[in-house]
Symmetry: D5
Subunit: 93 residues, 10 copies
């Protein structure tokens, strides 16, 4: 099943540059893993903000939960999840 | 997977009594079927309102969607659904 | 560019069945055209509601505007649109 | 009577790991006690967040109040409580 | 236990005067009964509006629910209920 | 005239225990004085929160203002006040 | 004491012109009376809307309530009232 | 001075086509006049909606008020206005 | 033109008493100057809060902006401004 | 395409004056560059606040994103962006 996942990044502005860089690097690496695992399907930026909208796929909400939680930035993120129902127009075939 | 489902009933106040009674009867019958099918697990009233909170279980959001939609009152209801993730404390055993 | 488009269908409940059916048929046909034109990329249902979330692609907001407006149900829909920025992770390649 | 209890955990991100672990351990122990006492009936995670939704049972709102307040994390939690009315469909029998 | 109950009266403006008068009379009579039964403890007007705030006492949310529902105006009212917890300062003695 | 007064206590979690105890003691003492002066009529807890709802009586909003401001915790409180109009049902006699 | 009173006029658009004119005339006359009685102190328009913000003076919220209720348009108005506390800077002298 | 003006058009869907056409024609004509008078500076559509955002210029809020009110559709519009302050960067020169 | 100006004072609670006193003194002095200049017309307290509602008069929004910004507390204040349109009832004469 | 961009500046009040001055200087310089590049078309202040509303032009949301992000104050800003659709009245000619 698919989920729409919004994140707002609240990492404090006074985080030292090296920690910030390390977190960003870890973030990209984990995102790549989630893509390769078929969990993270699409990712967009909310224009003007340090925020994203992602399309995720997971077996159930508990499995979905594990995806953003596995991101190194998670504990500074405000995450909201919306479960999506497959539309009949897309079920056929 | 489980879902928290809120309904607000907006049936117009000038609905004739016989139609209203028929809808309520159909509502109870369909709710009974959903209980017997293991889809409707619990149902509460929001005190003071013509509104309910229900705990539903369904295979995925598309399957969940079919449950409230099958209620005779559905087209007069404002329904909001929240997907719940199993908590690790309840996963064990 | 891509857009996230939410629709809430407010077609009155007392719309005659034949008009409703005709509108739904027109809706499906227009949606198919929009898919074939590469404008409507994905479509989901908001579980429990007569509402959808769609992923659209259009040249600019004015072009995007024309897509939901072309749906036969549009004048009964509450539509909200969110412009999405391509994420750098997806730009590469 | 039953209550729907939402919690958002606001424990600061810079809480030392040992204090965090101790709090989590205390949290699990107290939750187990509340389950055994028949106060905490069900517990879910809000997917993607450090947040929960719980179904509690207590004699009255003052007794309910004592349950989340007894959790070691309580003073960092934003808690909202909703009193539920038994639905007539569940009263019978 | 006590509840704070807000009501907004949405009776349509074109309700005939005699029906409106009859409803108001029934409303006052039922309110008097609820006072005598110890259910309706206090009642205020929200200044400027056709709206009230009431302090109710009932055994549980299901019993509370029956009170506003028994008002002749109920089906035109938007009612919100808040369960109150006795404060320790008022428990003593 | 009467007022409904809501308070949310935002005292920082890292306030030393002795200062916290002293504030609580002062809070109880001042509340007792306000009760004896006929200003604080009723007090409830918002279940699950460090928050209260109070029924106050004061000559006018400026006099009412002085009551919560005189509480030792006031500067850490988020206070909202709602002026209540006497209901005609309670005016008579 | 003083109150800030907001009104939004919801008179249906299909109200016949003569009734509308009569209501407006009655509205102006009643507003003039309220001014002369010292109840309506100031009145502004919310730019672009059929809405006003007024500064009223009345003995208490119940007396204030009577002022907007006495306007011929009242039953089509959405009115919100905010009680104002005299500021110490204006108390002196 | 400049104002940001948002409009949401709530013309009922069952408005006869000829009246609707006449209103739209009047709307365009009046908009042209407001442009020529230097009152309506810019106009955008909110994508997906029957709604606009406009940049207006008028001597003061009362003069601004007259502009949207002069539109034939005004009585079906929900209009919100925001007064803008000239930014120092644009004052120079 | 006139403006309704709301302020919420967010000065941190741990601000040293002497700085706080100095700020308050400066606040009173500047408010007096603004009154004498005809900019600050009326000032009220929001009961129960460290917040005010003021009626200001200024040539335009840019001139109005300068008034609250000139208050020593401004940088700790959350300020919201609403431009008011003169009501025709007050224009005459 | 055009965008409406709102910014709220959250730079902490205890930022040293020299850093603040340097940031403001950088802010003006970058804004000038964005104007010269045709990206920042108009800029207003939200009266009473450390906040702005800007009209931007950019090729797409990803290009727009780069503009506020390039401001030295960006990481302390809360930015919201709204994509605008060209109105047919402005398309002609």
């Amino acid at each position: 099943m698919e989920f729409l996942v919004r994140t707002e990044n609240r990492l404090p502005n006074d985080t030292p540059a090296d920690i910030r860089d390390q977190l960003r690097k870890g973030e990209r690496e984990r995102a790549t893993e989630l893509r390769e695992a078929g969990v993270l399907r699409r990712l967009w930026r909310v224009p003007g903000r340090n925020a994203t909208i992602g399309l995720y796929e997971a077996e159930d909400p508990a499995a979905l939960h594990d995806a953003p939680v596995s991101l190194p930035m998670w504990k500074w993120m405000d995450v909201t999840v919306e479960a999506l129902a497959t539309h009949p127009q897309e079920k056929k075939g």
